[in-house]
Amino acid sequence: MILNKISIAEIKERMVKYPRRKSVILPALTVAYRQVGHLSDQIYREISDIIEVPYIEVAEAASFYTMFPKEPVGKYLIQVCHNISCALLGADSLVGYLEEKLGIKKGETTPDNLFTLISVECLGSCASAPMMQINDKYYENLTREKVDRILEELRRQG
């Protein structure tokens, strides 16, 4: 078992709140992600057994959401929005700049395991494009200078 007692208890608690078991898939995946830091086939199986939803439906839902990394990621997961508004305002070059600054390609993790860089579908912050999400926090109206400052700050925190 990957999921610990606390996570299992938390998932079971959520089950009471929804009329359909399928609805618990996302909360359960979130609980698992918070515990482990990423998801895996084994976790889908465990969730499927707990909430009694077919394994494939858990796996399907998890695959849809880029917010859930499926492999181990760095301490800071940088998710740059690449949808229309952000793309029009330079998301592509922003990803390029981050690749250059971090010395990794999109989809990779820095050797010190501090940063993972990915690009994702719309994060619902079009008015403040271009933007990115690092772990749970939004960083908006980005410029290269702003990115420098953010990375510096995170590196300092370690």
Binding site: D41, I56, A59, E60, S63
Partner: protein, 844 residues
């Protein structure tokens, strides 16, 4: 009040259309012959509106609407062909084709592709998309992305238009959860669950339902272009469901089988055995010429020599000892014409009643068994299952025995809210659907049914049509508590089931092979009969023992059994001007007689009793004693090995004929190809022997048809009398040394002794395995694939183990379908339940 269906009237393309309330705009249009293009719509699936090609314009609605998911409303004014609609469809197709590889010249779907057809009819000849197409590449860099998702299915995601029909049908109709939609948007893909494969018994339907070339099967891929083939109407020759098929052939080869939708039987779904089973007609190793045994060898001979020898030998035996010293076994997968000819040959020319079609069941009754016959001939409709609110499935792994009946049960439960109860000696897949999956101690079924009858009568409290006291006098066990104890089930569960049946409005009771194959079949049938009496089922439902093979019902109705009902006997007597007075022998009595040298010859057509009759030792000894054995089959089998004359038999795709399905519906199938080699259809072989022996059996084809019709007109006595049958349960002694009940069953993807020759079916399973539950595996320290030795009182067998998540009690299942695995060696003909012990071994 309930009979008047509320209707709505709307206008489509200027025509007024009236349809039942709840109909979609698409179906309303279809009902008056207005075609609207579709991809994701399917008549048997819930609409999802995923592809958007079925756009129509509806007045007062600002945007185009998807007609498949829009309910027809009173006064709606719909236009399916306006300029705006045409523009909309063009735009949808432009989007769908953005990443499509446009590889029609090498795509197997070319010529029968909805995407081709709809683009041809509604699309544009250009695209504004000038970026690189997104490509799904799995295993190697190739436009084709040939990614295998199951033993038979190859996926090409680049061709997929995301209609989701495969995934929807898989979940909604088949209840399988091995295929899904992963990722999202542009990169959505159809795939298996991580680490799994698509290998259910229904898997081929996913290919058939695909509107484009995204899912193809190895059966058909790169073999032929569809427009070069011709289509032949056929009917499945395996189980008794009677699914309608289309054979796709060119010259002398069948290339594939698809369903030919028949809503009262199959609703357009067929199982993989029916889909791929045709392949055994044309693989290496078919018997192509008669063989005659000379010394130790079987030597090729002409038909004239073989038939001449058979007729001479039969005449010799008949003249010397009488025709009763000759017996006949014929496969219930032979057509009605062959079965009737077989019966007529034996009865009118050999004057012998020694004929049978049941070569897999032990201790067949010598006399007619009234309750059993009553239930096998009871009127039963597959389509009526879905009108039942309560369904009781008894003694069958239904998904395996009757995959399409299982789908109807699924439909009743999932779409119509029916309550399903299963009653079996081991857990089955139908259990997933059931309110209560009752697993009784093997060999105690009638005890449980007695308890159920008592429970029901007590609940009725004197108001039912049978009083509890009357029942108690005729039954043993005769209390619910005693019955529950014998079966190893709590009394509360028994009572819950009784309550569910009591309060049901319409009931279907479906009984299968674990009853018909049991030596206690008559006692169990009597107990089920009692249940139908207590429930007054004549007025509120149906109950039947389902027949096993494609034409088992035909064999019963046409009288291919040693003892027949009086009505059938009389009919045959008047039709044929005589009927043998001697008592006939069933399969095991024939073998027994052979062993005692009271039977001298056997004519076996399409059956393989040496490997299938439950008691391998017994059948081998019996056949060895025969003076003269004739066996007709497609391939060499354990039985042809013992034959003095081997005749090459044609398969059902090489001939036309009729099958009678488990409902009693007679269906015609057409020949697709010529007989392979020098093989001949069963009917012709029998006619040939008869002609040489005494003279032709039938003047012409009309005479066969007329005789068949006359026999089918004989009422099979479908109604149940009210009297309660006596049912006394007697416990079978269990040898402590052999603790585990053994069930010899069909492997999920096989049926009978020939399907292992089908390449596609062998891809699902190619050898017998010992199926055990995870808990038994743990107890005996057996792992998946480890070799185990099975020992019974009569035989030993070493096979790999398969831990089945489906099973959860201590029983053992082995499949009967593979040559080289004589599972029947472990069985004993006189035991009700075969028992074995199981030992892990390191090597054979």
């Amino acid at each position: 009040m309930a009979d008047t269906v509320a209707t709505v009237t709307l206008t489509i393309n200027g025509r007024e259309v009236t349809v039942p309330k709840g109909t979609t705009v698409l179906e309303a249009a279809k009902s008056v012959g207005i075609e609207i293009p579709t991809f994701c719509w399917h008549p048997k699936l819930k609409p999802v509106g995923a592809c958007r090609i079925c756009y129509v314009e509806i007045e007062k609605m600002p945007k185009l609407q998807v007609s498949c998911a829009t309910e027809a409303m009173p006064g709606m004014v719909v236009n399916t062909e306006s300029e705006k609609v045409k523009e909309g469809r063009k735009a949808v197709l432009e989007f769908i084709l953005i990443n499509h590889p446009l590889d029609c010249p090498t795509c197997d779907k070319g010529g029968e592709c909805d995407l081709q057809d709809n683009t041809f009819a509604h699309g544009i000849d250009d695209s504004r998309f000038d970026f690189n197409k997104y490509r799904f590449i799995r295993e190697r860099k190739s436009t084709f992305d040939d990614y295998r998702i199951g033993p038979e299915i190859v996926r090409n995601q680049n061709r997929c238009i995301l209609c989701f029909k495969c995934v929807r049908a898989n979940k909604e109709i088949f209840g399988e959860y091995d295929l899904g939609v992963f990722q999202g948007g542009n990169i959505s893909e159809i795939d298996t669950a991580p680490g799994e494969k698509v290998d259910s018994i229904y898997s081929g339907n996913l290919v058939e339902i695909c509107p484009v070339g995204a899912l193809t099967n190895t059966d058909w891929r790169y073999k032929i272009r569809v427009w070069k083939t011709q289509q032949v109407k056929s009917v499945c020759s395996y189980c008794a469901d009677g699914c309608n098929l289309t054979l796709w052939k060119e010259r002398d080869k069948v290339y594939r089988v698809t369903s030919r939708r028949n809503d009262v039987i199959d609703e357009g779904w067929i199982c993989d055995v029916g889909r791929y089973g045709y392949q055994l007609a044309s693989v290496e190793g078919r018997l192509t010429t008669p063989l005659i045994k000379k010394g130790d060898k079987q030597v090729a001979a002409t038909w004239e020599e073989a038939i001449g020898l058979i007729a001479r030998k039969f005449r010799e035996i008949k003249d010397k000892k009488g025709g009763v010293c000759i017996g006949g076994l014929i496969s219930p997968q032979q057509d009605c014409e062959a079965l009737l000819a077989f019966s007529k040959f034996f009865r009118t020319q050999l004057h012998s009643n020694n004929i049978d079609f049941r070569t897999e069941y032990k201790m067949l009754p010598e006399k007619e068994s009234p309750y059993y016959s009553r239930l096998t001939s009871a009127s039963f409709r597959i389509a009526d299952i879905e009108n039942s609110d309560t369904i009781l499935v008894v003694g069958t792994n239904l998904i395996k025995e009757h995959p399409i009946v299982h789908l109807r049960v699924r439909k009743a439960v999932n779409q119509k809210g029916a309550k399903l109860y299963t009653l079996n000696p081991f857990t089955t897949k139908s259990g997933d659907l059931s309110r209560d999956e009752i697993v009784h101690v093997p060999g105690t079924l009638e005890a449980f049914l007695n308890g159920l009858c008592i429970g029901l009568a007590e609940k009725a409290d004197g108001e039912g049509n049978v009083r509890a006291a009357e029942l108690k006098a005729r039954l043993e066990p005769n209390t619910t508590a005693k019955a529950a104890e014998i079966c190893g089930i709590s009394e509360a569960r028994l009572n819950d089931l009784a309550e569910a049946l009591r309060s049901a409005k319409k009931i279907s009771i479906i009984v299968g092979e674990l009853v018909s194959g049991s030596p206690a079949r008559e006692a169990i049938a009597a107990a089920i009969h009692n249940l139908t009496v207590v429930l007054n089922l004549n007025e509120r439902g149906q109950a039947a023992i389902l027949s096993r093979a494609a034409n088992s019902k035909g064999a019963e109705r046409l009288g291919v059994m040693p003892s027949l009902s009086k009505e059938l006997q009389q009919k045959l007597k008047s039709m044929w001007g005589g009927f043998p007075e001697t008592e006939g022998r069933a399969t095991d009595r024939m073998i027994h007689a052979a062993k005692k040298e009271e039977l001298d010859a056997l004519l076996i057509i399409g059956a393989n009793p040496v490997a299938s009759f439950p008691d391998g030792q017994f059948v081998r000894e019996g056949l060895d004693k025969l003076d003269f054995t004739v066996v007709a089959d497609l391939y060499e089998t354990e039985t042809t090995e013992k034959a003095d004359v081997v005749l090459p038999l044609s398969s059902w795709v090489e001939q036309s004929g009729h099958f009678i399905n488990l409902e009693g519906t007679m269906q015609r199938f057409e020949a697709a190809i010529k007989p392979v080699g020098n093989s001949r259809p069963g009917r012709q072989i029998i006619e040939d022997i008869a002609r040489e022996f005494k003279g032709g059996l039938f003047a012409d084809a009309h005479e066969i048809a007329r005789e068949m019709q006359e026999l089918l007109n004989v009422e099979p006595r479908p109604s149940f009398p009210d009297a309660v049958a006596e049912v006394k349960f007697a416990e079978e002694k269990i040898e402590k040394d052999y603790p585990y009940p053994l069930f010899v069953v069909d492997e999920m993807h096989h049926f009978g002794h020939l399907t292992e020759r089908s390449r596609s079916l062998a891809a699902f399973a190619a050898e017998a395995q010992v199926e055990i539950s995870p808990s038994l595996a743990e107890k005996l320290q057996i792992e998946n694939g480890s070799l185990v030795r099975l020992e019974s009182e009569t035989g030993k067998l070493v096979l790999p183990a398969k831990i089945s998540e489906m099973l959860d009690n201590d029983v053992i299942l082995i499949s009967r379908n593979f040559s080289g695995t004589a599972a029947n060696m472990l069985q004993m003909r006189k035991k009700r339940i075969d028992r074995v012990r199981l030992i892990r071994v390191d090597e054979k």
